[in-house]
Symmetry: C2
Subunit: 342 residues, 2 copies
DNA sequence: CTCAGTAATTTAAACGATTAAATATAGAAC
DNA sequence: GTTCTATATTTAATCGTTTAAATTACTGAG
């Protein structure tokens, strides 16, 4: 019925001990001085019986599962699913498989996933952490579990991470808007203390300041993760009606941008004539918006591969120095931040 | 150092046998007649030592891993990542976690993933199968592994699956184009013998026939999975230049639609004036295209949840009758298939 | 005080692999 | 024919659980 052939079955089939079979399978014939004749016999029996080693048993013995746990805010967000794809490929190349979970920006769900994955003996975690999970990450580290943070990070924690220079990226984007003649620049961000978003806000403000523009509190619009759609609509409508209060928008993430674009589309306000836009990350929506969006592009390739490599290095050497891998971002310029009409 | 507390540690700490601890942890105190006093002692020790059961060991013993293997063509495709998200949530609700892999439309990669996941003792598979993998699926079934196919399917295989009625969906979409005055309707599909795509092609042809329109071979454009971008561009350019050869397009998937829209955007040909469009699935691109696209919408929610439920039922009862769960699709009408100008 | 009967706990095998240590076998040297 | 060595193979413990079966402890009846 259940065709599963175990190592023991192979041994029994040949009338030899399991040890011999194990040695041969793991190419330890030399060290274990298995005779060539025997090795050949075993190898052909393995093929004949279609023996497949039970990874669970191997894991139990070795304490390693060759599995990486990936936790992101939401796997259905193309930003994360694209990274997931890269991580999957890179991990498999190195003999690991990936289990994933979406934390939904909830610290509680994050902890649940951490526990569930740890009990499954993942060898390491790659995490895009959510708000207020510093303690979780710290606790995880204390157990000796290799962890790499991606996209987001906590400066207060000693841990490997991979991300762009968010301050500089935002600064450059906003500076570009200013250099193109915009002076009243609003930003849509999340209402969160996650450092990567804070840095984007800081970069935005710093660029304004550097160009002698006085930041106005009402320019900074914030949406909560839990209520994006409504929050974005409300804030955007306030900003656009009854009269347009700014001449440019800077969007802190692709989700915020997409939601905002819907409102702008309805409003009839012309981009870039009346309104310049720069967004973060990428999206099909940015390409198909009637005035294709300029955006800050992060290399997901570099980020995903970097994360896998860091985490595997850490698996191999628990005590190596922590790495802060800063990925180069670039500003992709298109129509949406073009010239303003008077 | 490695803080991992085993059941044995708990037992040793209390000076009792591991059996007792195991019984209490698994709430088998009654059957095993563990004294209340002891149960209490054990429970508090478990908390105090922060004992977390090793799922790997449990899996080895039980032969069940509470893990579902999800194989799709490409997790970075929003269609699949959205399903993945739904599957993840539903599976976790039922105590399962999900490992995923992208087969890249390659039968070979598909087999690799199948093997890797099977060795990890997944309890079941949810698969969006790729071309020429009928034997793989059949072989998998023969081992007794629960399998559910999603989105795609093989009529020749007895297996649980979840999908829409692709023939009818295509038929309805094309019929709608015809009823709106289009007569020369092209379709962009994949060059594949995967039944779901075949059915879409058949539905398209049947709708033409039913309305007395003679199908022309050159209307059916096909791209290969391996070379989508170039194939789509070539075929579309042929169809659009030097003169527009049709008055409507029907796109068989969201990827094909998005790639095609890029060409249409460049061409300057007006939608829906000169060209009506209906696509399959959803995409931000459809919303932001200047003439928002009509599309055939599949309920990913129903599909994902349906798949998880079917697969868990099958885990519990290997011999239950196979289910063909047909998800209702619907045609969402927007501007892109509107009225034609003469 | 013994014995039966029930209650409480322990023992030990098992899941499928790995591997150090023990043992068996064969050949060479004297 | 011993003895020694090198080669080939087996034994048995182990990883962390589960669980049937065995054992021990207790209680009350006679």
């Amino acid at each position: 019925m259940n065709g599963k052939v175990s190592l023991k079955d192979v041994a029994k089939y040949l009338g030899v001990s399991t040890a011999l079979v194990s040695y041969v399978i793991n190419n330890k014939e030399k060290e274990a001085r298995v005779s060539e004749k025997m090795a050949k016999k075993i190898r052909s029996a393995v093929v004949k019986l279609n023996y497949q080693p039970n990874q669970i048993a191997k894991s139990l013995k070795s304490g390693r599962s060759n599995t990486i746990g990936l936790i992101v805010a939401d796997i259905s967000n193309p930003f994360f699913s694209s990274i997931a794809r890269i991580i999957e490929d890179e991990a498999r190349k190195q003999g690991y498989i990936v289990i994933f979970g979406s934390s939904d920006e909830s610290a509680e769900k994050s902890q649940d996933l951490l526990n569930a994955f740890q009990n499954r003996q993942v060898d390491a975690f790659i995490i895009a952490p959510v708000e207020n999970t510093e303690k979780q990450i710290k606790a995880l580290q204390k157990t000796g579990m290799p962890v790499v943070l991606i996209d987001r990070y906590f400066p207060t924690i000693q841990v490997d991470n991979v991300h762009i220079d968010n301050f500089q990226a935002a600064y450059n984007a906003v500076e570009h808007l200013i250099n193109n003649g915009r002076r009243k620049i609003a930003m849509m961000a999340y209402d969160t203390n996650l450092p990567h978003i804070q840095e984007r806000k800081n970069g935005y403000k710093a660029a304004l300041r550097a160009h002698g523009i006085r930041f106005k509190k009402e320019w900074l619009m914030e949406a909560s993760y839990q209520n994006i759609e409504k929050d974005v609509a409300d804030k955007m409508n306030e900003m656009l009606f009854p009269d347009l209060k700014v001449d440019a928008f800077f969007f802190a993430t692709n989700t915020l941008a997409v939601e905002s674009l819907k409102i702008i589309n309805q409003s009839g306000i012309k981009v870039p004539d009346k309104l310049a836009i720069i967004a973060f990350d990428e999206s099909d929506a940015f390409d198909f918006f009637y005035s294709p969006l300029s955006y800050v592009s992060q290399s997901l390739e570099d980020m995903g591969k970097g994360a896998v490599n860091l985490v595997i290095e850490r698996i191999k050497d628990h005590s190596k120095k922590y790495t802060n891998l800063i990925i180069k971002e670039k500003l992709v310029l298109r129509k949406s931040c073009g010239t303003k009409t008077k």
